[in-house]
Symmetry: D5
Subunit: 95 residues, 10 copies
């Protein structure tokens, strides 16, 4: 199952820098782990904003949920989820 | 340059079917042409709605504009454009 | 896979009554067919508005999409889709 | 009477973990109690977000209100309430 | 059960005057009938706009729905429904 | 003059309980005083949310303003004010 | 009583010019009549848009309503009404 | 140049009262100064809400900006600015 | 005076092509005339949408209004106007 | 590539003045640096609000992103990005 997830981050301006750097490092590690597992095939930065557009390829909606809840930066995110499916005009069979 | 384009279609319920089928056929042909040219690398259907999420890979914002204006179904679309760039956590070099 | 689909209908006030009654009859027949097949386990009327809240239980997001596109009244609908999953506090195993 | 209640949670990122775990445990216990009493027949997780969609089956709007005010996590919730009724296309008599 | 219903009307500027006057007369008659039956205890005009705020006192959400669908001007309305209950600070027992 | 006032309350989750109970007690006393004076003829709880819908019957817009500013819980409220007038379909002369 | 009324006009692009010019002439005449009567003390054009911001000084909300319904261009308007009162910082006694 | 400025205030409920009273006193003094200078010809309270609607008559957009930034309560305001001009239906030459 | 004007166009899909081409030609001529007069120093296309972002440099808000009303495509536009002024960080004296 | 970026600032009212003045000074220095490099050709103040409208001229969306993340006041900003391109009616070749 494919989902588009749009994540917008709003981080308190006066957060402790050490704490935040640690959260970001753990977020990056978790993201790499999920990308390598094929669960997170696309992640793009939204130009000019602390936000990303991601595509997830998961077994179930429940798996997507567990993934999102496992992200260290989730508490700062506003999240929008859109379920996707194959488009009839898509020329790729395996997208 | 990468852009995400979200297209939502609102077609008049009583449109002439022949006219609309012709428009859809031309839209599909144009989409295939752009996909084959590598300009439209991803197109996903939004599940349950007459809408799609697309990724365009173009030389310039002007090229994106010309592409969108060339789509036969553009007059029925509400369009949202988001400029994307490489995410620092992306493990792919050539995404 | 479970999806909540909220459908709001906006029908032109001066639509031909025979045409609309026929569309409603076909919508009802299609809804019954999908309910009997177990694809549409819940449908509730939103009190006071020409709208419903529905739960669909389908094999894939693509199947949901095909179902929605097959509804005769789809052209009058504004549709919102929400992917659902099991809640950790749910006491039912088979909901 | 049936109500759909959509609950979105926004929890401060730096809340004391012990306090929050205690609130969640009490929320779960209260939810189980209401589910067993038949007041809360459905609860679904919204995939990817700390949110749920619930159906309540209560004697009155006042009872719904008392239930919502009794939820330990209510102070973190944004709540949307929709009154539901039987849909004429529903094939179940006792939904 | 008490419901607040907010009705905003948007009537095509070029509607046939005879048709619309007939619809308004039937709307008024239906409103009077429901007021006399005690179902529609309050109706206020929103100052300066073709809109009203109403309170309905009905047996069930289903009865509210049937009432709203029976209003001749419903096709021109945007409707918002809010379920109400007794307020703990209300000094009237029988409001 | 009649006004509908919709009050939505958002109270910090970690407010000092004694302080808040005192504020609520003063709010209730002030509400009772205004109800007994005939200024606040209707107050309904919005089912499931910490919110109310109220009707005020005042001498002037200025009096409404002074009333609202005198409410102890005003600092937690999001307020929407709608000026009302008699509806031509209302069968009550003295509503 | 003072009200601010914001009127935004949306006129069909293909309206019959003679019909529309007649409506505008009647709107202007009605506006002049109300201005001379002191009911409509201020009217400003919103720069760059077919819209105005107006202040009405009327006996009651009902009078405001009758005035708005009497405007020939009302069917093309989106209207927002805000009840005003004297500001404590206003240095004018008779504003 | 005329501008309508709508100012909505949201003040933290637990602000130090002495600090806030001082800010309000300075705001009032600054408002009086600008009114006497003819820069702020109208200020109305929005009935029932801590908000105002104001008309400014300034030499330039830059002057409006400097005025707004000089208001002691600006940090609590949500501000909406609308550029106004003379309305062709206005019967006053010097409004 | 500087104004940013955002113009979004929504043209009926079935408009007579000759009529529309004539409107567009007159719009372009009017735009060129205003650009050459220095009134419309910047116009940019919004990539992917039938919309533009423009900067106008005019004597007054009234002049901006007359310009906008003179645009042949105005009836299809949704317009947002923002008054601008010199930014203190701008290094150009004559921008 | 041209981008319009709209930046709205919301600064906590009780921020330490020394800290904030330092942030503003660094923001101004960074802005000057980018203006001198030709990356930030236009910056306008939004009249009456702590906000600006800017035009950036960059090599890529990634460069825009790096610029925005380098702004010392970014943590207080709500940012909207719009990709622009040359307008066919623009009479300037090198805008």
């Amino acid at each position: 199952m494919l989902f588009m997830v749009e994540m917008d981050l709003d981080v308190p301006w006066d957060i402790d820098k050490t704490v935040f750097e640690d959260m970001k490092a753990r977020e990056k590690a978790r993201s790499h782990e999920l990308q390598r597992a094929g669960k997170w095939p696309h992640i793009w930065r939204v130009a000019g904003r602390y936000a990303n557009v991601s595509i997830f390829d998961v077994e179930s909606a429940g798996e997507l949920h567990d993934i999102m809840m496992s992200l260290p930066l989730y508490p700062f995110m506003t999240v929008k989820v859109t379920a996707l499916c194959r488009h009839p005009s898509d020329i790729n069979q395996d997208d």
